[in-house]
């Protein structure tokens, strides 16, 4: 082939690129970032995740503030204005961003575009790794913004009852950063579930069960096991006032990271050993 001489025409490259021995992983990262940022639904999801988190969080805080008068002393003692203001964020924001991560994989399987992806980058685990890295990196600042605004709005609601805390209060900054980090791990779990299940509806349902289902299923489990469920760990990651039955926030983040790692490795194995 190399001996063939070519006529100059429009099809030909203007300047031949130097040969490459093995493709650098940065190409795959760049490619997956291009994919993510050029889909309008990515940005719509980000806007929806932030705005719904804030509005729902505010509603939950108003409801809590109104119940303050009727709360028992024990309930008041464990009341966590930080975690409460992030309630909407975890119910909706995390799920929306996780579902976005799911779709980065399943949209390609359902259309068949995954074949173009694997033809361009035959090392499939690298593709999944890049999708995980890129969606997690995208989810982090979006989630942080959602958490910070939710917190601020929530505290203004609580200020009416003098229940508010501030960014400078002990544990608050850590809780907000951990909230964003937790959602980044949820995004990686989403990529993993997408690779394992391949169908948008199925994988999204699985993700919702992972995040929310823990609360339901957990009631049938002993507390010792229950605290390790992803949904419970998510809740624990943002607690400022530690309560019984929850992991310490730092431990909870490590547990979520482990779930993300397991999901990604399992999906990589599955995707690599299956015909595309």
């Amino acid at each position: 082939m190399s001996t063939a001489t070519h006529t100059i025409d429009a099809i030909h490259f203007t300047a031949p690129a130097p040969p490459v021995r093995s493709s650098p992983p940065s190409w795959t990262l760049k490619s997956e970032w291009t994919k993510l940022r050029t889909l309008p639904s990515t940005w719509r999801t980000a806007v929806a995740a932030v705005s719904i988190s804030v509005v729902l969080g505010a509603v939950l805080c108003i409801s809590q503030a109104n119940q303050w008068a009727t709360m028992t002393a024990a309930q008041r003692a464990t009341f966590d204005p930080t975690a409460c203001s992030l309630g909407g964020f975890f119910l909706v924001g995390a799920v929306l961003l996780g579902a976005l991560a799911v779709r980065t994989v399943t949209a390609e399987y359902s259309t068949g575009m995954i074949r173009s992806t694997f033809t361009a980058t035959p090392t499939r685990r690298r593709v999944l790794g890049a999708k995980a890295a890129v969606t997690a990196a995208f989810a982090f600042p979006v989630a942080l913004l959602a958490a910070v605004v939710s917190f601020e709005v929530g505290q203004r609601v609580f200020a009416g009852k003098h229940l508010q805390v501030s960014f400078g209060s002990p544990g608050v900054l850590q809780a907000l950063v951990f909230a964003a980090l937790a959602v980044s791990f949820v995004a990686i779990i989403g990529v993993g579930l997408g690779g394992l299940i391949r169908h948008t509806a199925g994988a999204t349902t699985a993700l919702v069960l992972v995040i929310v289902g823990g609360a339901v299923l957990g009631q049938f489990l002993p507390a010792g096991l229950r605290q390790y469920l992803p949904g419970t760990a998510l809740e624990a990651a943002v607690t400022v006032h530690w309560s019984a039955g929850l992991l310490k926030p730092g431990t909870a983040i490590v547990v979520l990271g482990a779930y993300a790692g397991i999901a990604l490795v399992a999906a990589s194995l599955r995707v690599t050993h299956r015909d595309a």
Binding site: H12, F13, A17, S23, W27, S31, T38, T117, A276
Partner: protein
């Protein structure tokens, strides 16, 4: 250059591709021809490392596809033009592909220009017609300026102008010394585009030859003849080994002898010919003849309809 050796793919009990060996050479258009379900797409997916062969192997430029460092610079492939996430613009779709193989982004507008999609570069792919998708798929295949291009059923759904455009593109790519591998179930299209044919049926290679050679080998030329002494001529020709069928309008269709031999026989017996017309041989006849036992399903009326077209 594509080299397949004893390539086999089994799905459960079905042998989709069975011990297939062939070489696709540079500098010509090689047609990969076979009825639907013959194993063309499966073979192409194995070439691209998408499906793992049950046994055997296939190399592109001497390497398994998965070992190519920047595969888009070696092989450009269009498998299914509709297999695309519709939310992105045409330019964005090509940009992620370019990024994945370290291809300069200015190449995106170059290939959009080549396929005539520059005006709709910013439009969502989801709004594209089948023909526009097909052109976008070809732009994607040309992105890395590859030595080998591979197209699965590229003319499906195209209008005559689009078909002509693709045909000329294939030929010009081959004339530049590239390896062009093109699958189709349409014999007539292959006859006009391909220099070389690899015919597959039920997962097996049933012919691998130059297009002209293939036609000559697998078709018997026939001649339409009318004579004043038609019965005498028929008898004479039959004696010389020709096969005679009666046409509906009183003419005979003679196979097994060319027009010179028929004319000679007629003059030797003082038979006056009224008409002597070579009918030529159609590649489609050869194809149907060859694949009629290999096709998975026999849709008689469908075959006839295609033949007439």
């Amino acid at each position: 250059m594509i080299e397949a050796k004893h390539l086999t793919k089994r799905y459960g009990k079905t042998l989709a591709v069975n011990e297939v060996s062939f070489t696709v050479k540079p500098g010509q258009v090689t047609g990969f021809l076979g009825p639907n379900g013959a194993g063309k797409s499966t073979t192409m997916r194995m070439i691209l490392g998408l499906d793992t062969p049950t046994s055997g192997d296939v190399m592109v430029d001497g390497k398994p596809y998965r070992e190519l460092a920047d595969p888009l610079r070696s092989v450009g492939a269009l498998l299914d033009a509709g297999a695309i996430v519709g939310g992105r613009s045409a330019a964005s779709h090509l940009t992620w592909l370019a990024d994945s193989n370290g291809i300069a982004r200015r190449r995106v507008s170059e290939v959009l220009d080549i396929v005539g999609l520059s005006d709709v570069a910013g439009k969502r792919v989801g709004t594209f017609s089948l023909g526009m998708n097909q052109r976008l798929g070809i732009a994607a295949a040309l992105l890395g300026d590859p030595e080998t291009v591979m197209f699965d059923e590229p003319i499906n759904g195209l209008d005559p102008e689009g078909i002509l455009w693709i045909r000329n593109l294939m030929k010009s790519l081959a004339s530049q010394g590239r390896t062009v591998f093109l699958s189709s179930h349409l014999m007539s299209e292959m006859a006009q585009t391909a220099d070389h044919l690899i015919v597959i049926g039920r997962g097996r290679i049933i012919a691998d030859a130059g297009t002209d050679e293939f036609i000559n080998r697998h078709t018997a030329p026939s001649v339409r003849v009318r004579a004043v002494e038609q019965a005498d001529l028929a008898e004479t020709l039959t004696q010389r080994g020709a096969l005679i069928e009666s046409g509906s309008d009183g003419a005979m269709v003679v196979t097994g002898m060319d027009s010179a031999a028929i004319g000679g026989a007629a003059s030797a017996y003082d038979i006056t010919l009224i008409e002597l017309a070579p009918l030529g041989s159609s590649l489609e006849d050869a194809y149907f003849d060859l694949t009629k036992d290999e096709s998975d399903y026999h849709a008689g009326q469908l075959v006839d309809a295609t033949k007439g077209a």
